[in-house]
């Protein structure tokens, strides 16, 4: 990403930050979901897109982050709200770091589809435990303390929070992308054995990417849970999230920095606004959109744009 690209992103972010002044609450909530989804997509992409380890179970980290934060915040609900949210984020992040570090070694030995399916298993096991261990309150549900300042509408507050977090996640991904670590992840995606033979510490790099991706996902889970106010197992351990995180990258451009952002914006917009009234149609529409786009543009929106501009340049010559 060059300097003007950074400026363009910052300009976009500033415009988006101002948008709630003009938008009705419904669209602010759609915007919040778009930003939240984009941030999740980028966090997922650090492992799935950069290193090529596509996880099909990242909802596990949303759930673990949300419930860890909620249970602890419940104990300390007398703290002032901003402190409470910060505390919840720290707890959610640490819980996801612990879980991902614990399973990293065995699960990252699997490759391709096996890794994806194993992660789906992790997500389901976590959901099952969350539902059946009473002290986790998964089936009973968990209330989150209100942390929204009184002067701001809740939807605006969470919109801005998601925007800020989304930019932060994007900045992390960007820094990784341009670092030596990022180049190592790319080589792992391309050919892991060759990467190791060139001296890339593949095992360590995969583990770090996994933990970073999990922690960022967990932090977003904490914010999402607050925006809901009340969660049960089913509201955070969602299989449509597991699916969508892959879809975002496939739609926008796998392994690119902005691909998951574009994919998330596109998919959330289509399902929430265009198909808003046809609730049961969502999964079908997601599937259909995916099939069409993968057939028409295997490189996603960014890949398509790149080939298009390449062709135009070739024609001009």
């Amino acid at each position: 990403m060059k300097r003007d690209q950074v400026l363009a992103v910052l300009a976009c972010a500033a415009l988006m930050a101002a948008a709630p002044i003009l938008l009705p609450p419904f669209y602010i909530r759609v915007g919040q979901l778009m930003l939240y989804s984009a941030a999740l997509g980028v966090a997922w992409s650090i492992l799935g897109g950069f290193a090529g380890y596509a996880s099909f179970g990242h909802a596990a980290f949303i759930g673990v982050g949300a419930f860890a934060a909620g249970l602890v915040e419940d104990r300390f609900s007398t703290l002032p709200p901003p402190l409470l949210l910060g505390f919840g984020l720290a707890v959610g992040g640490v819980a996801c770091a612990a879980l991902s570090a614990a399973i990293a070694y065995p699960i990252l030995r699997l490759r391709g589809t096996f890794f994806a399916i194993a992660m789906l298993g992790v997500s389901h096991v976590c959901a099952e435990l969350n539902n059946n261990l009473d002290f986790l309150q998964g089936s009973l549900g968990l209330n989150f303390p209100v942390v929204t300042p009184e002067s701001i509408a809740p939807e605006t507050f969470y919109y801005e929070l998601c925007l800020f977090t989304g930019c932060a996640v994007l900045a992390v991904a960007w820094q990784i992308r341009r670092s030596r670590f990022g180049a190592g992840l790319l080589s792992i995606r391309e050919d892991e054995d060759t990467a190791r033979m060139l001296g890339v510490p593949t095992e360590r790099y995969k583990r770090i990417a996994f933990v970073v991706s999990a922690v960022l996902t967990g932090l977003l889970g904490v914010i999402y849970a607050h925006s809901l106010g009340y969660i049960t197992t089913d509201s955070v351990y969602r299989d449509d999230t597991n699916l969508n995180l892959i879809v975002f990258s496939l739609l926008g451009g796998m392994g690119t920095l902005f691909g998951p952002v574009i994919g998330a914006f596109l998919l959330v917009f289509v399902t929430q606004v265009v198909l808003g009234r046809l609730l049961d149609f969502h999964l079908f529409a997601t599937g259909l959109l995916l099939v069409i786009l993968v057939l028409a543009a295997p490189g996603g929106v960014l890949g398509f744009a790149r080939t298009f501009s390449f062709r135009r340049r070739a024609n001009a010559e």
Binding site: R180, A183, G184, L186, S187, E190, D191, D193, T194, A195, R196, M197, L198, G199, V200, P201, T202, E203, G255
Partner: protein, 260 residues
């Protein structure tokens, strides 16, 4: 200290479920040399490279690099010590450009102070692919891929390059160009262990030949010594079967080359 070998292999053995690919192999390589390993198909040459790079664990024996034991070390740690490999079947990072392929070599590889930009440029120069820097690796010809394979390997600042049939599938002109690249790499201070089937090239470029047959070392000496060694002539060059395989593999390449 000066004549300490850069690589020493001691009674190395590797068997795959009863198949003895390497048996009791011992030799030492002096720094700054080009040593070629020849032998019929299946003699264990690539397996030896897999053992030296730590990609496979030996069944028995030890490998010493610059006086240190490296057997049992993870592959990436061995690369950090300064051993690089160019694969028999080129394995480029297909989605990346030639430049980025080579750059990853120089970002990693041998530990220590690094100047990534200069090392990348120098490696591409040495391997004669500087003009291809912006090409995607997936768009290269077989011959160019072989050069990329070598460039990426030496970009790691390796002291020892294991080159596994870098001329396979190349026409005579391309083969000569590759041999020239190997000479320049050696002149830059890198020791080379070469596996190659093209006998004229091997005879011309090597300081020393090791002959492997069925996983055993059957001859070791200067190219002319080995060429006149009756045991080699009988076991390898002289016996009809490997000779046939040799000419079969060499001829299509030459014919193909003359057409181009």
């Amino acid at each position: 200290m000066n004549n300490q070998p850069i690589l020493r292999v001691d009674r190395l053995s590797k068997s795959f479920r009863g198949l003895h690919a390497i048996t009791g192999l011992s030799f030492a390589i002096q720094p700054g040399s080009i040593t070629s390993i020849i032998g019929p198909n299946g003699a264990g040459k690539s397996t030896l490279f897999n053992l030296v790079t730590g990609y496979l664990a030996p069944s028995a024996g030890q490998i010493w690099f610059q006086g240190r034991l490296i057997t049992g070390m993870p592959t990436n740690r061995i690369a950090e010590r300064g051993i690089a490999r160019a694969f028999q079947i080129a394995r480029p990072f297909r989605d990346l450009s030639v430049f980025d392929n080579v750059r990853i070599g120089s970002l990693f590889g041998k530990a220590g102070p690094r100047d990534v930009a200069a090392t990348t440029a120098r490696a591409m120069q040495l391997a004669a692919i500087a003009h291809l820097a912006d090409r995607p690796a997936s768009a290269l010809t077989v011959g160019q891929l072989r050069h990329l394979e070598v460039a990426r390997a030496i970009a790691t600042r390796a002291d020892l390059l294991l080159a596994d049939e870098p001329c396979a599938g190349l026409n005579p002109t391309e083969t000569a160009a590759m041999i020239d690249v190997l000479r320049r790499i050696r002149a830059s201070g890198v020791t080379i262990l070469l596996v190659e089937h093209d006998m004229p090239s091997v005879m011309e470029v090597s300081d020393r030949l090791l002959v492997l047959d069925a996983g055993r070392l059957i001859a070791d000496g200067s190219p002319s010594d080995v060429a006149n060694n009756p045991q080699v002539i009988e076991a390898y060059l002289g016996s009809t079967e490997p000779e046939d395989t040799e000419s079969q593999t060499a001829e299509p390449a030459i014919r193909q080359g003359s057409k181009i």
